[in-house]
Each structure stands twice: as structure tokens, then as C-alpha cells.
Amino acid sequence: MTVMSRADQRLTPDVVQSVTFPTTRLGRRGLDEDHVRVFCKQVELELIRLLNERTSLQEEVRRLRARVLGREVDGPGYRREDAHIQAVGILSKAQVTADQYVADAQAYSRALAEDARRRRDEILGEARAHAAMVLQEAHERGQQAAQAALAAAPVAGAPGADARRGNLEAELAYLRTFSDVYRTHLRAYLDALLRNVDEWERSERSAVADVQAQLAPALSRAVPGPRLDL
């Protein structure tokens, strides 16, 4: 399409975009085609911007006019509807906040529970390994004691009653050492448990004292004067 300016035809971005200019005849001075194209692009964009602005202004005018007219005809009604939408917005925000808190609390509780479960497994695993170790140690030292008892017997390896006696002594030495080692470990374990209980008691006592110390002034502040006499 070429430029044909007519009074009844509005200039639109489309027109600017598709405009062509006839080329100049040879030998005569003409315009740089690229310059013209760039300028046309600018005009087109400006037109689009202006048209968009006009649309939103028209919308604004329509809204304001409706509000003015609405106030004149049925003012409170319009505003009530407006207020309801606002209330819905506020309630929705509050709900989303509550949802988030619940989700956070749930995630926190999940993390705590997973952690507790993992630590429980670790503690149980360690305890099992420790128990196996204690048994193994008791067994080994018992065996050593049994061998020592056998070696010490004057008729080691002799047939008959003496041999039986030697074996029994070895077995006795084994069992005595085994139970000694086991008892030692058990005592150490119980001592550790008792220390834990003491520690627990101490920390609980001091925690309660701390809380009471913190609460005392707060309580006297919170309760107004006359009530203190009751």
C-alpha cells in the first residue's frame, strides 16, 4: 500500500507497517529507504502505545462513571459488593497464611520424627555392636584363662580322672573369667546410666528454677494491683 492520505481514513499501526514508497527515478535525489523504514517502525510502536493508553483510560472513565452513577442511584449497594470482594481477598490471604503455618509445622514434625528414628537406629546399632564386643571379649579372655588353667595342671593331657579334672578346672576358669569381664562391663554400664539420671535431675531442677525466676516478675506485672490482694 502506498501513502494516500484521505480525510476519512484513520492512520493505524497496520497502515504504517505496510506502507511502501515509490522509488525515485535515476539521477534524482531521494530518501534513504532504511531511514524511512526505521522511522515508520517508531511511528507504529508509538501508535500502539497511544492506543493502549487510550483503551485503559476509556476503561478508567467507564469505571469512574459507573461508580459516580452507581453512588447516585444505589451508592451503598455498589460499595457493599466492593467490600465483600475485599473481605474475600483478606480472608483468602489469612487462609493461605494458615495453610503455610500448618505445612511448616508438619514439615518440622516430619524432620524431627525422621531424625529421632535415625538416632534411635544408630543407638540401637551401637548398643548391639557393643554387646557383641563385650561377649567376644569375655569369651576370648575366658578361653585364655582356661588354657592357662590347663597348662598349670600338673598332669595336663594325662588320661582318666586327672584329665577330666583338668578339663573341669579349665571350664571353671573360663566361666569365672567370662562372668568377671561381663560383670565389669555391666557395672560400667549401670554407672553410666546412673550418671545420666543424675544429670537429667540436675538439668530439670535448674530449668524449673530458671522458668520460675523469669515468670515471677512477669506474673506480678500481668496481674493488676487490687487482684493481688485476693
Binding site: 480472608l91 495453610d99 500448618v102 516430619r110 520424627a113 525422621e114 528414628r117
Partner: protein, 357 residues
């Protein structure tokens, strides 16, 4: 237009117009909004096939009884639904469109309330149950025995939605671990899910004498009583509950079929019901019970995952199989049985998954 924003607007609108309806919902509404959008999506997608939609809407209507929904609530819900659609449609909302939506909603509400009304003639909206005993079998599995005021009519293998007063308006499905009894007592096996609000409340904060609320029984993992085949029962963790109920039903038959029950767990501690199962097996020559664990080197019994252990004890081609547990476990066992030549119609699986919180 974002789906969640629409659901959010809808509920806020409803609660503002009818504040009393807020009581029917839990504190957190995010799961609720998803559910609403799913149901609405299905209704809109199948709106022109009412025959298919009918049963879904009837179930929905019956199911809403336990939430305390009554016919009077359907009007306000429709009102807010229309207001929401109008708000989000803006200029596109026309009286014609409004009329169409109104009549569509009225139809949906009618089907739901009709189904609810018919159900109300036979069943209460929900069943109140008192906790008779609460046994913590492991640190995270509880066996809870309750008595209902009105008997719950169910088939062994079915489940009910359970609500605890500690977590109001949150419902989770649990299977009854026993066949219906004269004294209306029910047993539930509850495993604590980390961070799961309901399972934690049930395992930790449900003392004897407290009450629970139960919904109507659902589920299709039920005994094929017309079959004369042997029976294979497989329960992973607390998936044991429904298969144990079926086992009870079998033991009441005049001549029970040959039955093999497999209970699976991570470690020996997780086989929380073995003493009882072994006692049953000792007095029933038709019953064999196998416990197996997959992560416990010290365990003296069967070790391995359920699909492998079950496969080792085959053949199962002549058996009806009933499987319950996590979706992963039931899927694995079912596909192993299929590989071993068990026809699909002989394999019954707990098919709503199970409550993961």
C-alpha cells in the same frame, strides 16, 4: 486464571456468607482446595455423560455425610460457586451463562442429596467409637481396639475413614483387622508416619476411653466366597490388618481352604503381630504363617523382600491371592505372581492405596 485462586475465592466467599460452614473444614485448606478442583474438573469434563457421572456423584453425596454436610448446605455452596464463576469470568459472565451453571449445579446437588437421603435411611452419617484398648506394639505401631455404639456393617478386608478428636476434620483410611463381631468391636493397626498428623495422633494421643469417629466402610479387597481355590494372604507392615480380617472370615468357614499368610516387615520388631498369628496357625491345620524381614541380619526366620519370599514358597497358580500394604509392595508382589502364572482375576489388591499420613 489459576485453579487454586478460584478454589480459594470460593471457600472465602462461602465462609463469609455462611460463617457456620467453616466448622466443617480442617484448619489447613490446601488439600481441600485440590479435592474441590478435582471433583469440579471431573464434573465439567463429564458433564455431557451423566450416566457415568451419576455413580461418582452418588458416592460423593453419601461420603459427604460424615463431614456433617446436610441438604441445607447445598444452596449456599451453589451460591458461592456462582459468585466465584462470575468474579473470574468478569465481562464474559452473562445471564445465560449464569442460568446454565445454576441448572447444572442444581442437578449435581440433587443427585448428591438424593443419594445421601437414601443412605440416611439405612446408615448413620458416621459411627462413634470408644477406644477399649491401645497397645503400642513397637515404638511406631499401635493396635487399637474400639467399640461402636451402632454396628458397622462391613466385609472383612474393607476400610473406614477415621477421624480423631485431636485432629478434627482430618480423615484417614484404616482397615479393620478383624471380621465383624457380635460385640461390635473393631481392631485397627496404625503405623506412625513421620509428620503424619492423624497417624501420630492415633499412635501417641489416643488413650483408652477416648473416642474416634468412623465413616462408612469402603474397599474391594474382599473374599471371593464362590471360589474353592486355596488362599494366599500377603500383608506388608500394617497391610496385615485387612488380610488378617479375611483370615478370620476363612477360619469361620465350615471347612476353610488351605491358606498361607505372609507378613512382611523391615526387621523382626516390625513383625508386630507374630505371636497372635502363630497361635492361630498352631490351632488350625489348614493355615501356615510365614513372617519375613528384609533388613535384619540377626533374624532367624525368612529373610528377603515379600515378592521373593512369596515366590520361594510357590507354586501359587491355583490360589486366590489377597495383597495389602504400600502401593510399591502390592504392585511388586502382584507382578511377581503374574510372572509365576497366577491369572489376574485371582489376584486381589487393596486398591485405594493407603493413608500415608
Amino acid at each position: 486464571m489459576h485453579g487454586d485462586a478460584v478454589a480459594l475465592f470460593f471457600y472465602s466467599d462461602l465462609f463469609l456468607r455462611h460463617p457456620d460452614t467453616r466448622e466443617l473444614f480442617p484448619v489447613s485448606m490446601s488439600a481441600q482446595r485440590d479435592r474441590l478442583l478435582q471433583a469440579l474438573g471431573r464434573i465439567v469434563a463429564e458433564a455431557d455423560r451423566l450416566a457415568e457421572l451419576g455413580p461418582f456423584l452418588q458416592d460423593l453425596g453419601r461420603d459427604h455425610r460424615r463431614f456433617g454436610a446436610i441438604a441445607d448446605h447445598y444452596g449456599p455452596v451453589g451460591e458461592s460457586l456462582l459468585a466465584t464463576l462470575a468474579h473470574f469470568s468478569g465481562e464474559d459472565w452473562t445471564p445465560d451463562l449464569a442460568a446454565e451453571w445454576t441448572s447444572a449445579y442444581q442437578l449435581v446437588a440433587q443427585v448428591m442429596t438424593d443419594a445421601a437421603a437414601i443412605d440416611a435411611r439405612r446408615n448413620p452419617a458416621s459411627w462413634d467409637a470408644t477406644v477399649l484398648s491401645h497397645e503400642l506394639r513397637t515404638f511406631d505401631i499401635a493396635v487399637i481396639r474400639v467399640a461402636t455404639v451402632q454396628p458397622v456393617k462391613y466385609l472383612p478386608g474393607q476400610s473406614v475413614a477415621v477421624e480423631s478428636p485431636v485432629r478434627p476434620r482430618l480423615w484417614r483410611y484404616y482397615s479393620m483387622a478383624n471380621a465383624p463381631r457380635e460385640d461390635s468391636t473393631l481392631e485397627f493397626h496404625v503405623r506412625m508416619i513421620d509428620g503424619g498428623p492423624v497417624s501420630m495422633a492415633l499412635t501417641r494421643s489416643t488413650p483408652v476411653g477416648s473416642w474416634l469417629r468412623l465413616g462408612a466402610p469402603v474397599g474391594t479387597l474382599t473374599l471371593d466366597t464362590s471360589s474353592r481355590r486355596d488362599v494366599l494372604l500377603v500383608g506388608g507392615s500394617t497391610g496385615l490388618a485387612p488380610v488378617k480380617a479375611i483370615l478370620e472370615q476363612l477360619s469361620d468357614l465350615p471347612s476353610p481352604p488351605r491358606t498361607h499368610l505372609f507378613a512382611g516387615a523391615r526387621n523382626a520388631e516390625g513383625l508386630y503381630d507374630m505371636p497372635d498369628l502363630e497361635k492361630l496357625a498352631a490351632s488350625a491345620p489348614w493355615l501356615q504363617v510365614t513372617g519375613c524381614v528384609f533388613d535384619d541380619p540377626d533374624y532367624r526366620g525368612e529373610r528377603g523382600h515379600l515378592p521373593d519370599v512369596v515366590a520361594r514358597h510357590g507354586p501359587w497358580t491355583g490360589c486366590d491371592a489377597y495383597l495389602a500394604g504400600s502401593t510399591a509392595m502390592t504392585t511388586a508382589v502382584a507382578s511377581r505372581l503374574t510372572e509365576l502364572g497366577v491369572p489376574a482375576y485371582q489376584i486381589h489388591v487393596e486398591d485405594f492405596g493407603w493413608s500415608e499420613s
